[in-house]
Amino acid sequence: MADEIILLDFWPSMFGMRVRLALAEKGLKYEYKEEDLRNKSPLLLEMNPVHKKIPVLIHNGKPICESLIIVQYIDEVWHDKSPLLPSDPYQRAQARFWADYVDKKLYELGRKIWSTKGEEQETAKKEFIECLKLLEGELGDKPYFGGEKIGFVDVALVTFSCWFHAYESFGNFSIEAECPKLIAWTKRCMEKESVSSSLEDPHKVHGFVMGMKKKLGIE
């Protein structure tokens, strides 16, 4: 019997994109359902009653929530193809550490960059670049965080890259100028079909953020 896979998602979400990417890496067919976050579907509320957030993966009727947990689930169920986590426990711990680091830092800092001004924005920009530099250090000379192939940390981080144009535009700074190695890595990732088909067009994302700013009354 074929697996039934449904993804509840919201097109600009870098968290939802992580799941799209993991599914693409594994070559899995699924039904994509776009959620209107101002009018959440009964299905979303039923499948994620605790957080009421996307992404939610529904596999044969059973929901899995939280993007990195979903990615690990996909990696474990479809373990034969394109493994995202390494097999060595120490390397797995390192991958989990860095994915957790991305989660703890980047979203909030990115949000501050497009939604604040003045000193708060400057501080956020500075910290954001510091985080990316640290991640650059972790990447080192490897083509991907996962080594020769994309792995868990690549999936966790690369989806933020289609938001970089929006951050740069509203924050008035250049990420490439500060972190050229990281931008080179994003371009390398985008050469892969699974990545380019899962990430959104940075200009569309920019338009979305512009719309958000208008709605929130932010200049």
Partner: protein
């Protein structure tokens, strides 16, 4: 295996370090415990966890692993013989990870928020929020335990460790605010679970004494309150 092969950089009041103690005990691993003074962090800690500079850090064969839940999963994988900490089924693992993430991302910040709340109204709201979280966790306990003693079933596992490490601090919040958080009528499953968790062989010798923790908390939190009061003048 020499005990120095496995070192745990911890601090006795830290619930996050406690998670690692418990996980190592479940696997019967011999380890060296290095107590850190968090106001004067050792070179070893700063070198081993340069990103966050926090405990716990597990050092195994001279390689550091950081972040308590990543460490617990590492322990489960590096010492892969029974008993297991995470379940073997991928869906059950996703559920366990979900609840551990809920505890870390939502519930613990609410518990932490009680100490930071200024004024009676804010304190009450903070305490109510902690209780609401416990009601959610009570429902989770019902589903996960399937009538058995622990979230993981017959033996303590990932979610038990993730939540149980905070029981001492729940006691501290209850005593400092003269309230009950773990209510036996609203959270009967968790109330019974809490007693069993504290009695578990992997837990009871490493769980800090509740009253010592209270004394420590009083010292730290009262000093912080004085500092806040003087800086507001």
């Amino acid at each position: 295996m020499a005990t120095s092969d496995v070192k745990l950089l911890g601090a006795w009041p830290s619930p996050f370090a406690l998670r690692v103690h418990i996980a190592l005990n479940i696997k019967s691993v011999d380890y060296e415990c290095i107590e850190e003074n968090l106001r004067a962090k050792s070179q070893l800690l700063l070198q081993s966890n340069p990103v966050h500079k926090k405990v716990p850090v597990l050092i195994h064969h001279d390689k550091p692993i950081c972040e308590s839940l990543a460490i617990v999963q590492y322990i489960d994988e590096a010492w892969s013989s029974a008993p297991s900490i995470l379940p073997s089924d991928p869906y059950d693992r996703a559920v366990a990870r979900f609840w551990a993430a809920y505890i870390d991302d939502k519930w613990f910040p609410w518990l932490n928020g009680v100490a930071n709340a200024q004024g009676a109204e804010a304190k009450k709201a903070a305490l109510d929020q902690v209780r609401e979280g416990l009601v959610v966790l009570e429902e989770a306990f019902g589903k996960c335990s399937e009538g058995k003693d622990f979230f993981s079933g017959d033996r303590i596992g990932y979610v038990d460790i993730a939540l149980g490490c905070f029981l001492g601090w729940v006691y501290v919040a209850e005593k400092r605010n003269d309230v009950k958080l773990l209510l036996e009528d609203k959270m009967p499953g968790l109330a019974a679970w809490a007693n069993k968790f504290c009695e578990d062989g992997a837990v009871k010798d490493v769980m800090p004494d509740k009253d010592e923790l209270l004394e420590f908390a009083n010292m730290v939190l009262d000093a912080r309150a004085k500092l806040n009061a003087s800086s507001n003048n």
